[in-house]
């Protein structure tokens, strides 16, 4: 079954976030490693773009990303344990 645009973008966010999760631990024990730092910066920028894209189209990922004053959409989007995304 093909992924929706939302699932697609969420997957990209998970991929880029995970790259940071893993390189972050490497950098904790190798704080002067230049190659690792370059890898980190590359994914940091990619993730920022993906995050902005996702939030603009599909709603907040963190509670400080809710726009406007009509409704607290933080509680409206699916919770991660539901298995929708």
């Amino acid at each position: 079954m093909a992924m929706t645009e939302q699932q697609n973008l969420m997957r990209r966010l998970q991929v880029q976030s995970f790259a940071i999760d893993d390189i972050k631990l490497f950098l904790d024990t190798h704080p002067n490693d230049r190659l690792a730092m370059e890898y980190y910066q590359k994914y940091r920028h990619l993730r920022e773009q993906t995050m902005n894209n996702y939030v603009k189209q599909f709603g907040p990922i963190t509670p400080d990303q809710v726009e406007g004053t009509d409704r607290w959409t933080w509680i409206d989007t699916p919770w991660p344990w539901e298995g929708v995304l």
Partner: protein
Amino acid sequence: MEMNNGMPGYACVPAVEVPDVSAAAMTRGETPLDQLPLAMAYVPMQKFGETYDGLRALERGTIFPDLDLPFCGRGVK
């Protein structure tokens, strides 16, 4: 201040300062295992090498092929 009463072996000297941390101190990773001090555990320091591309890294659970060590025991589907 000598604290081992003249016995052979390590002489205890109180340490009062946090030692300076320099990058040189981290290079002990090149020492062969049989030259390292006894009674201690040592894991080799990983060197930054190949990385998986994004999606594959997520699927495998690490960006590093060097650390990709799956389980293949009995009962695994």
